[in-house]
């Protein structure tokens, strides 16, 4: 059971730890530290509600009636704790404009969103938990770009395994070992992998043994289909945990309802049967020493004596539609910011803390995601719009010496047709019905209705193939989050994030390569390529750019979308002058202030970052526990025994 409290009740009180944010990182820390007996206060800016069954149903209803299904379609806007939505971005002649929570000043739009609500951005995550490659941790040493981690994959291994268990992961250990990301050949996941989709099988049949050339890397690749490890309920693996097995965690808020994945195709933004894992599962098991207060927006970390911090200042609101809050403070021995890479940066910048390096807010990263879409021939359907967003990927382009020439990328085999690329199936209905009229402004004569429309939809939707290609973006200090409290504030008076974002040449080369590789893959499938980023009239698609890598002859219209993977804004490193936090995510400047989350990651490779972030959080939890233990160590009057004589 979660012990809930309010701002008024905790005002002025002292805790062992204050955690700002109740997403994956915050909830893992809350769970671990609570179990060790520490008094923890979790302050969540957003609304509660989804942890009850009616609240969850309400999110589901909100999603069902939303006219446009974007990741935040299930979650209501919150004027007191606003968060970005992909619909805030609009393509205009010459580029884009941005409304809503972000102020954007860069040449290219930052298309990633998150949620401020109980559970954080994890409420709308897909549930993908692949691991980073060992080489992803050392791109500067190996490939002379980006930043090295002050950690190796091997050092993170026990925490990755613990994270997989706590999130509840379904995967194929033998495959992941072959890929080179898990140590043992007979590695066991808690649950068997989510079954590969029919389309995955088609890719497997048509691509096995085929060589695909990446013209930018100038290397041949032999793609192979690997299933994706997912944080989603599946068949429990009786061999997990040395044969002790695993019991899938059910739904939060309704006992004994939890289901295994049954193929609803709406994971982002919401799983109707709660097969998808979320931090709410961890929260319902918090020990009683963990108190959770929602609708409490932290505005500042309060400085203490010397270089330490003493607590936080926050505002509690009661009505998310009215940005009116009451200010309170709470104190703690340790303060942990776990509010998302971007919000962490805003808090640190507002507080004017932890920034001796000047790097707070810098190195804003994402996985620019290139979409390529095509259609299989008639009589070769692949059964789109069934199952999780993607169940398998083509991994070979993530590795190796090609990274010297262009950014690496991971190809997700999308199961949801052209949904992301064109808005299918709704857009398909629109175009078949003839919405929008013809050039003369008349109703289109060849619009379909009734059984004819159903047949055509059934035929076409079933053949839609979409590849989502996540390109690695390295840490670039020019991509950054800043604030300007004089000019841009939200309803509660907190500064809005100002983003400056661009893709460097290496990333653009990677996107170009992804486009060319996708075209070849579609040819191998026999599918008709519909990928199209050309400018229409004078309005370019969002994220559009034209590019021609050195050595290539053809300039192409390209584009990208945000993947939802904000990172880098309080970057990790061994040196205080060139990083914000150390490998335990403790800020260099303040011994009792931690900034956890993807914001710490020096590089994000080509994999969804949640699992790595969770492993880092668990490692930080251990360090925080050690720190608190030493703070509470009893002082004795006895003299130390003299050991030197024995040596």
């Amino acid at each position: 059971m979660t012990v809930t409290t309010t701002g008024a009740q905790v005002n002025g009180r002292r805790y062992d730890v204050i955690i700002v944010g109740s997403g994956w990182a915050g909830s893992l820390l809350g769970r671990q530290l609570g179990r060790q007996g520490w008094r923890v206060l979790v302050l969540e800016a957003g609304n509660p509600g989804t942890e009850t069954w009616p609240g969850y149903q309400d999110s589901l209803d909100t999603f069902n009636v939303a006219p446009i299904k974007v990741p935040n379609a299930g979650y209501r806007p919150n004027r007191a704790a606003p968060f970005p939505d992909v619909l805030d971005l609009h393509a205009v002649p010459g580029g884009y404009t941005s409304t809503g929570h972000f102020v954007q000043t860069g040449p290219l739009p930052y298309g990633t969103d998150y949620i401020r609500a109980l559970g954080g951005a994890a409420m709308h995550w897909l549930g993908a938990v692949p691991r980073m490659l060992p080489e992803d941790y050392a791109t500067r040493s190996l490939y002379r770009y980006g930043r090295d981690w002050p950690l190796t994959a091997e050092q993170l291994e026990p925490y990755l395994q613990q994270a997989e268990r706590l999130i509840g992961t379904a995967g194929n250990g033998a495959e992941q070992h072959e890929l080179g990301v898990v140590p043992e050949r007979d590695y066991q996941y808690p649950m068997e992998e989510i079954p590969a989709s029919y389309q995955d099988g088609v890719f497997h049949r048509k691509l096995t043994g085929k060589e695909i050339t990446d013209p930018v890397a100038q290397l041949p690749y032999t793609p192979k289909v690997y299933t994706l490890p997912q944080g989603r309920n599946s068949t429990p693996n009786p061999l997990f945990d040395d044969g002790r097995g695993y019991r899938p965690v059910g739904a939060v808020g309704l006992p004994n309802f939890g289901e295994r994945c049954v193929g609803n195709a709406s994971c982002t933004p919401i799983c109707p049967v709660q097969a998808k894992s979320s931090p709410l599962r961890l929260q319902q098991d918090f020990t009683d020493s963990v108190h959770v207060a929602t609708r409490c927006v932290v505005s500042r970390v309060l400085p203490g004596r010397g270089s330490s911090v003493r607590g936080v200042e926050f505002r509690e609101y009661s009505d998310p539609a009215a940005p009116v809050g009451t200010p309170y403070t709470a104190e703690a021995d340790i303060v942990v910011l776990a509010a998302h890479a971007i919000e962490n940066a805003v808090i640190l910048l507002s507080s004017e803390l932890a920034n001796s390096s000047g790097y707070v807010g810098r190195h804003l990263m994402d996985h620019p995601t290139f979409l390529a879409w095509s259609r299989m021939p008639q009589a070769e359907p692949i059964g789109a719009f069934r199952g999780p967003g993607h169940t398998s990927g083509l991994e070979c382009f993530r590795f190796g010496s090609g990274r010297k020439r262009r950014a690496p990328f991971r190809i997700e085999i999308g199961n949801w047709g052209w949904g992301w690329a064109t808005g299918a199936p709704f857009s398909s209905v629109g175009s078949m019905v003839g919405l929008g009229g013809d050039a003369e402004g008349e109703v289109k004569a060849d619009g379909l209705f009734g059984p004819g429309l159903r047949r055509r939809l059934g035929d076409e939707l079933n053949r839609q193939v979409q590849l989502q290609i996540a390109v690695e973006q390295p840490a670039d200090p020019a991509n950054r989050v800043t604030i300007d409290p004089q000019r841009y504030r939200d309803g509660l008076g907190n500064p809005k994030p100002i983003l400056h974002y661009d893709l460097d040449t290496r990333v653009r080369d990677g996107v170009y390569a992804a486009r060319r590789v996708a075209a070849e893959i579609f040819r191998a499938l026999g599918a008709e390529d519909f990928t199209d980023y050309r400018v229409r009239g004078d309005i370019p698609p969002l994220g559009h750019f034209r590019h021609r890598p050195e050595g290539q002859t053809e300039e192409l219209d390209l584009g990208f979308h945000g993947a939802g993977h904000g990172a880098g804004t309080h970057i990790m490193g061994a040196q205080r002058a060139t990083s914000v936090v150390d490998s335990y995510q403790r800020t260099h400047d303040h011994p009792n202030l931690f900034a956890v989350g993807c914001g710490s990651m020096p590089s994000i490779g080509t994999s969804n970052p949640t699992l790595t972030m969770a492993a880092l959080a668990l490692r930080s939890a251990e360090e925080i526990h050690r720190e608190l233990t030493s703070l509470h160590h009893p002082v004795t009057a006895a003299r130390q025994p003299v050991l030197e004589a024995a040596q």
């Binding site: 068997e192 006992p255 004994n256």
Partner: protein, 392 residues
């Protein structure tokens, strides 16, 4: 319902020998399955989107009945018996007599979601403690009074027969050492079946057998004069009120509070139940009532064929291929869709339609259905990979 009906007509007694134990356990399969069409009718006749709490509650009970069915099959297999679920005699012809219960009880029909249906559900799940004392000349003091009593008889039988078997083994080492000689590979476990309320576990000895019987009883009636089941003790899950009390909540329109007792009724928060938001059906609906050549008739027949297909898959799962259970789950979801298709349509008969009666599934299964179903199920099982093939 053949076996259960036959046993019900006899006197109350625990099973006396191995053969009789197996008959009792086959009857248990029939008893657990008996409720499935009844609860399905109550659940799927709710207008989609309405009465969500009631829908989820009936669904949770239905899922637990499927668990009980599975545990009963595990019990029967464990004592060397063979479940037999894919034949006409397995499915009751509704309205049907509740087995192992007083003759004075009315027959159980297939009803749409309504106060009357909930009253029927309460009758089925009634804990022993709440059964009114036998009265009147018509009552047979030696007859069965409740399903709980039936499971108690099985429990007694298991203990006695296991003790006998062990003694026999002591006297004659050539005799089996235990009652539980069934092939362990026939046991359906949690990798094969997931219902989220409790867990399907293998039955391999007296201890697990008694646990299985206790789970079946406790989830239905509640633990020892309380309103709670024992999911927290057995499975480390959050405990819920037992089936009877879940239905009581819907019937009364009120949740139970943490300290309520079986006899006090619910005293917790009010519950929103809108009885009008349900399709009204004819409890005596038969396929023959729907005009030949009509779409409703075709769907009603298709439903019965699909139901037979489900039972045929369960038969394979219960007789040596537990992994076939995974094939059964999509069929269950298909039955949901087929049900709702029927309920949405007004009854083809004008007179009944004028009364607001809608079409409904009839659960009439003949041998012809099963002949086709067995062949289809075998083909489906043969075409799907076994666990070894999937993970070599």
């Amino acid at each position: 319902m053949i076996t259960a009906t036959a046993l019900s007509q006899g006197k109350y007694r625990p099973p006396a020998g191995l053969k009789e134990l197996r008959d009792f356990l086959q009857a248990a399969l029939e008893v657990e399955h008996f409720t499935v069409p009844v609860y399905m009718s109550g659940m799927y006749s709710i207008r989609p989107g309405a009465n969500r709490f009631s829908y989820d509650t009936i669904r949770s009970v239905l899922m637990e009945e499927m668990l009980h069915l599975t545990l009963a099959a595990n019990l029967l297999n464990a004592v060397g018996g063979t479940p037999d679920v894919a034949r006409p005699g397995f499915v009751a012809g509704y309205p049907a007599r509740l087995p192992f219960s007083s003759r004075s009880l009315p027959e159980i029909p297939l009803q749409n979601f309504s106060p009357a249906a909930l009253d029927t559900f309460l009758l089925i799940e009634r804990p022993r403690a709440l059964v009114p004392p036998a009265g009147g000349e018509a009552e047979d003091d030696e007859g069965w009074t409740s399903i709980g009593q039936f499971y108690d008889a099985i429990r007694k039988g298991l203990i006695a027969l296991e003790r006998e078997q062990r003694e026999q083994h002591r006297r004659d080492p050539a005799a089996p050492a235990t009652l539980f000689t069934g092939d362990p590979r026939r046991q359906v476990g949690p990798t094969d079946f997931y219902n989220s309320g409790g867990e399907a576990f293998p039955v391999t000895d007296l201890k697990s057998a008694l646990l299985a019987v206790e789970v079946i009883s406790d989830q239905g009636e509640g633990v020892a004069d309380t309103i709670w089941d024992s999911d927290d003790i057995f499975f480390g899950e959050q405990r819920q009120v037992a089936h009877y009390f879940r239905f009581k909540e819907i019937r009364v329109g009120r949740r139970y509070g943490a300290h309520d007792l079986p006899r006090t009724g619910p005293s917790g928060p009010l519950l929103d139940v809108v009885w009008d938001e349900a399709y009204r059906i004819d409890p005596r609906a038969k396929v023959a009532h729907y005009p030949e050549g009509s779409q409703v008739r075709a769907q009603a027949e298709f439903f019965n064929r699909t139901y037979a297909h489900l039972l045929a898959l369960l038969q394979l799962a219960f007789t040596g291929d537990p992994w076939v259970m995974r094939q059964a789950v999509p069929v269950m979801l298909e039955l949901r869709d087929l049900s709702q298709r029927l309920y949405r349509n007004p009854h083809p008969d004008r007179a009944r339609a004028a009364q607001g009666i809608h079409a409904s599934p009839t659960f009439e299964l003949t041998e012809q259905h099963f002949v086709q179903a067995r062949a289809d199920a075998a083909a489906k099982a043969a075409a799907s990979p076994t666990p070894e093939e999937q993970h070599p």
